[in-house]
C-alpha cells in the first residue's frame, strides 16, 4: 500500500521534470510527508517507523526534500504542537506550507528575564476589546534567542494573559505573524561573532483570536508538547560511528601524526569511548521511543551531547597547540557578524567549534534544568523548594 502510494506519487510527478515546490505539495497531499500524521494533513495515520521507507524510496528516485535543517523549528516543534493542540482549521492552514518550507517558523518563548524559568515570562497579551471572546490580542514584550526570526513567516509564542494568577496558570499559546506591524527583529550577536539568533521586540503586535493555540490560560500545558519535542530533536539524531565533532578530531589524529602525544592519546580514546557510548545510547533511546512518545530520557541525551561537545572541542584546541591560537579558516576572514541560517556544531574551524559548543549546555534547556528534570521526573527525588508556585505572577519579584 505504501509502496503503491510512493509509486503513484513518482509516476504522477516525475522528480526530474516536476518543479520542487509542486513535488513537495503533491507529496504532502498524498500523505507521504510524515506518515504518522493524520490523513489529510500530510500523513496516513501509519506507524512512524514507516517514514524511513518513504524517505529512502523518494531519495533513491531523486526527489527533492524539504530542506529539513532550514525548517527544523517548524517540523520539530511547531508541527507537533499544532497537531496536538490546534483546531482543524489551524492544522489545515498551517501544516502544509510548514512542511513544504513555503512558510518558515520560529519560536518566541525565552525572554531576557525568563530563561530557565520560562513560565516567569513577562510578555503580555491583552484582548483589544476586553470581554469580547473573539477579540484580537495585542501583544507587547521582548523575546530573545530566536533563531530564524529574520526569515520566519510565523512564530509560536507564549504570552501572559493573566498576571493575577500563579505564573503557570496565566499563560496562553499563540501563533504570531512575524510579518505584521509591531514585530521588530534584531540580530543577537554571540560569542562566535555571528548572529545565529535574534531578539524580537513586540510592540502592540496584533494576533487574531483564531491564531490562539489551545484555551486561554492553557499556554503552559501546550508549551510542554513543544519543549519535549525540542529536547528529543537536539539529543536524539541518528549518527554513524565517529559522527559529529569526535570524527573531526579522530581524522586530525590519523592524518597529522605530528600532533600526537602520549598524554593526548588516552584522552582522545576516552573521548572516543564517551562519544561512542553516547551514540549507542541514542540508538537505544530511539528504539525505546519507537514504542512510546518522547520522555525525560531525551534530557539525558542532550546533557551528554553538550558535555561531550564541549570536552572534545576543548581537547581539539589543546591538540592543535599553536594552530589553536588562530581563530578560523573562515572565508570572511574576520570575526564578522554573519547570519547563518543553519548551524553545524562540527563545521568550520576548531576555535569556532570550541566557542559554539558553549551554547550547547544553555540552548534548549540548560544542563542544570535538565538535571533537575532527570532527578525529579525520572528518579522521583523531591522537587526544588518553590517559592513561586502559589503566588500571583504580579506579586513575584521580577
Amino acid at each position: 500500500m505504501l509502496n503503491e502510494r510512493i509509486k503513484a506519487l513518482l509516476d504522477g510527478h516525475p522528480p526530474a521534470s516536476t518543479p520542487r515546490l509542486e513535488f513537495l505539495r503533491a507529496r504532502f497531499d498524498s500523505g507521504l510527508a510524515w506518515v504518522h500524521f493524520p490523513a489529510g494533513l500530510g500523513g496516513l495515520d501509519a506507524p512512524r517507523e514507516q517514514q524511513r521507507i518513504v524517505d529512502e524510496a523518494l531519495a533513491a528516485a531523486g526527489a527533492p526534500d524539504n530542506d529539513p535543517h532550514r525548517i527544523g523549528i517548524g517540523l520539530g516543534m511547531a508541527a507537533p504542537t499544532i497537531l496536538a493542540h490546534g483546531t482543524d482549521e489551524q492544522r489545515r492552514r498551517f501544516l502544509r506550507p510548514l512542511w513544504t518550507g513555503e512558510e518558515v517558523w520560529c519560536q518566541l518563548f525565552s525572554e531576557p528575564g525568563a530563561g530557565s524559568d520560562l513560565a516567569g515570562l513577562a510578555t503580555k497579551a491583552v484582548r483589544e476589546n476586553p470581554g469580547d471572546e473573539a477579540s484580537d490580542w495585542i501583544v507587547t514584550g521582548q523575546k530573545v534567542w530566536t533563531s530564524m526570526a529574520h526569515e520566519a513567516r510565523w512564530a509560536i509564542l507564549i504570552a501572559r494573559t493573566d498576571p493575577n494568577v500563579p505564573k503557570h496558570k496565566g499563560l496562553t499559546y499563540f501563533v504570531c505573524d512575524m510579518t505584521g506591524p509591531g514585530v521588530e527583529v534584531r540580530p543577537l550577536r554571540q560569542i562566535t561573532g555571528e548572529a545565529e539568533f535574534n531578539e524580537v521586540f513586540l510592540t502592540a503586535a496584533r494576533i487574531p483570536d483564531a491564531h490562539r493555540l489551545g484555551p486561554v490560560g492553557a499556554g503552559w500545558a501546550v508549551a510542554q508538547t513543544t519543549l519535549m519535542n525540542e529536547r528529543v530533536a537536539i539529543g536524539g539524531g541518528a549518527q554513524p560511528r565517529e559522527g559529529g565533532v569526535i570524527g573531526v578530531v579522530a581524522r586530525a589524529w590519523r592524518e597529522r601524526p605530528e600532533l600526537r602525544t602520549a598524554a593526548a592519546h588516552d584522552t582522545l580514546l576516552d573521548l572516543w569511548t564517551q562519544a561512542e557510548a553516547a551514540r549507542l545510547t541514542a540508538t537505544r533511546l530511539r528504539q525505546q521511543l519507537a514504542a512510546g512518545g518522547p520522555g525525560p530520557e531525551g534530557s539525558a541525551a542532550k546533557l551528554a551531547f553538550a558535555r561531550l561537545n564541549q570536552e572534545i572541542s576543548g581537547f581539539e584546541l589543546d591538540l592543535l597547540g599553536e594552530q589553536g591560537l588562530r581563530y578560523d579558516d573562515w572565508s570572511t576572514g574576520s570575526w564578522a557578524s554573519e547570519r547563518p541560517t543553519t548551524v553545524d556544531f562540527a563545521g568550520r574551524g576548531a576555535g569556532y567549534r570550541y566557542l559554539r559548543a558553549k551554547g550547547n549546555s544553555i540552548e534548549g534547556g540548560t544542563s542544570e534544568i535538565l538535571r533537575n528534570i532527570i532527578a525529579e521526573r525520572v528518579l522521583g527525588l523531591p522537587p526544588e523548594i518553590r517559592v513561586d508556585k502559589d503566588v500571583p505572577w504580579k506579586d513575584l519579584a521580577q
Binding site: 592524518e255 538535571r371 532527578a375
Partner: protein, 408 residues
C-alpha cells in the same frame, strides 16, 4: 589506513537491538526474586565474615534450578540454547545483588572457553578429529550447563582479552608448563572463584606451544592458597601445580582461541555485571536520598545531590546501551566484537566505580560502616574495574582497533 573500523552490528539503519526482550525480562525477574529471597545483603555480609563466602545452595538455585549455568550452551551440548544476551541479564542481576557465585567465572568465562575449543564444535560430529578431547569438552560442558560442576579459567583475574602484543598466541600465559609426561607444573596467581571450583581450565605452555587443559581442582599436585581479596564477594586464590595430572582439551590455535574467547565473553558480560552494580548503587542511593532528612528537609531535595544523582543516572543509561551492545556482539559473534567489548569495559568499569563511590558519599557516615552494604559494592566495583583489563588497557586496545595509534 585512515578509516576507523566500521561498526558492523550497527551497520544497518535500525541498529542492533539494544532493548531487553520479554524473555529477558522474565529471566531477570526470576533471578532477582530468587536472589532477593536467598541472598539478601545481610546474608552476603555474614558469609563474607567467614572463610566461606559462597553459599552452595544459592549457586545451585541459580545454576541448576533456574538453569542459568547453561544459558548460552547449545541444547545439543546439554544447555538451554539461549545466548550470551540472556546470560548478560543474569550477570546484571548477580552484580545488582553482589552475590558471591561463580557465574561470571564459571558459567561465562570457563563455559565460553570450552565452547570455543575446537573439540566443542566437533563434539556432535561423527568425524571428530580429536575424540578424547571432544569427549572431555562435551562432558564437561554438560556438567557445567547442568550445574553439576563448576569450572574456572586458571588465569589471573586481571588478564586482558586483548593483549598489547600482536600475533596469534601473543600474551599466552607461560607460568604453567607441560611436563614431559603431560602433567602440569607452575603457578597462577589471583584466580577468581578457584576456591569453589571443581575443575580448573589451564592454559599451559607445552614444548609444541600453547595448550589448554582441564585439571581436577582437588587432584594431587594442585594447591589452592586463599588470597585476601579486595572484593569480599569474589575471592582469589593462588594456584600451584606440581606435576598435576591434566586432560588436554585443545592445542595450538585451538588453545589460544579458547582462552581468548573465554576472556572476551567474560569482559563483555562483566560489563553487564558492572551495570548491575552501578544500578544497585544508584537505586540504594536514591532510596536513601528520599528518606534521610537533615536540616528539616529530605536530603534528596538538595540540588547538589540531585544533580549528581541525575548525572549518575545518565551515565548508567549510557552504560546500559554499551553493555547491551557488547552482549549482542558476543551473542552474534559479530565482527565488531573486539571494539564492542573494549568499549564496554572502558566505559562500564568507570561508571560502576563512580556509582559505588557516590553511593558511599551519598550515604554519609552510614555508608562508611561495615554493616551497610555499600562497601560490598565499592569493593566489587573497584575490583571489577581491574578485572579482565583496566579501562586504560581497553582504551589502548580501542586505539589499535579503530586506527587511532599512539604517538611515535
Amino acid at each position: 589506513m585512515s578509516t576507523p573500523a566500521p561498526d558492523t552490528a550497527s551497520g544497518n539503519a535500525s541498529g542492533p537491538d539494544l532493548l531487553y526482550s520479554e524473555l529477558e525480562e522474565d529471566l531477570r525477574a526470576s533471578v532477582r526474586s530468587m536472589l532477593a529471597d536467598r541472598s539478601p545483603h545481610n546474608a552476603v555480609l555474614a558469609r563474607c565474615e567467614t572463610d566461606e563466602p559462597y553459599d552452595p545452595a544459592v549457586w545451585k538455585a541459580l545454576a541448576a534450578d533456574l538453569g542459568c549455568a547453561g544459558l548460552a550452551v547449545p541444547e545439543k551440548l546439554g544447555g538451554a540454547g539461549a545466548s550470551w544476551r540472556e546470560a548478560a541479564v543474569v550477570a546484571e542481576e548477580v552484580g545488582r545483588a553482589v552475590t558471591p557465585v561463580p557465574f561470571l567465572t564459571g558459567s561465562v568465562i570457563a563455559t565460553a572457553a570450552l565452547l570455543a575449543a575446537p573439540a566443542s564444535a566437533s563434539a556432535d560430529r561423527a568425524d571428530s578429529a580429536d575424540g578424547a578431547g571432544a569427549e572431555s569438552v562435551a562432558a564437561l560442558l554438560a556438567d557445567l550447563a547442568a550445574g553439576h560442576a563448576t569450572a574456572v579459567l586458571a588465569v589471573p583475574f586481571s588478564s586482558c582479552p586483548t593483549p598489547a602484543g600482536s600475533g596469534s598466541g601473543a600474551g599466552f600465559p607461560e607460568t604453567v608448563r607441560v611436563d614431559a609426561d603431560g602433567h602440569l607444573t607452575g603457578t597462577v596467581t589471583s584466580v577468581a572463584d578457584a576456591s569453589i571450583a571443581d575443575v580448573l581450565l589451564v592454559p599451559a605452555m607445552a614444548a609444541s606451544g600453547p595448550a589448554f587443559f582441564a585439571v581436577g581442582a582437588r587432584a594431587a599436585g594442585v594447591t589452592r592458597d586463599a588470597v585476601i581479596s579486595l572484593d569480599l564477594t569474589r575471592r582469589l586464590s593462588d594456584i600451584t601445580f606440581a606435576s598435576a595430572p591434566a586432560r588436554r582439551l585443545a592445542d595450538a590455535d585451538g588453545a589460544v582461541q579458547a582462552l581468548a574467547r573465554g576472556l572476551t565473553v567474560g569482559a563483555a558480560l562483566l560489563a553487564s555485571e558492572q551495570l548491575g552494580v552501578a544500578q544497585a548503587c544508584l537505586d540504594m542511593s536514591v532510596a536513601y536520598l528520599k528518606t534521610r532528612s537533615q536540616f528539616g528537609r529530605l536530603i534528596g531535595s538538595y540540588q547538589a545531590l540531585k544533580h549528581r544523582a541525575a548525572d549518575l543516572w545518565a551515565a548508567i543509561a549510557q552504560a546500559r546501551a554499551v553493555a547491551r551492545y557488547a552482549a549482542v556482539c558476543v551473542a552474534q559473534d559479530d565482527p565488531d566484537t573486539p571494539v564492542a567489548v573494549a568499549l564496554a569495559q572502558a566505559y562500564c568499569s568507570t561508571v560502576a566505580v563512580r556509582a559505588a563511590e557516590e553511593c558511599v558519599q551519598f550515604h554519609g557516615g552510614i555508608g562508611f560502616t561495615w554493616e551497610h552494604p555499600a562497601h560490598l559494592y565499592l569493593k566489587r566495583a573497584k575490583s571489577a574495574s581491574l578485572a579482565l583489563g583496566t579501562a586504560a588497557q581497553h582504551r589502548a586496545a580501542l586505539g589499535r582497533l579503530v586506527n587511532l595509534p599512539p604517538a611515535n
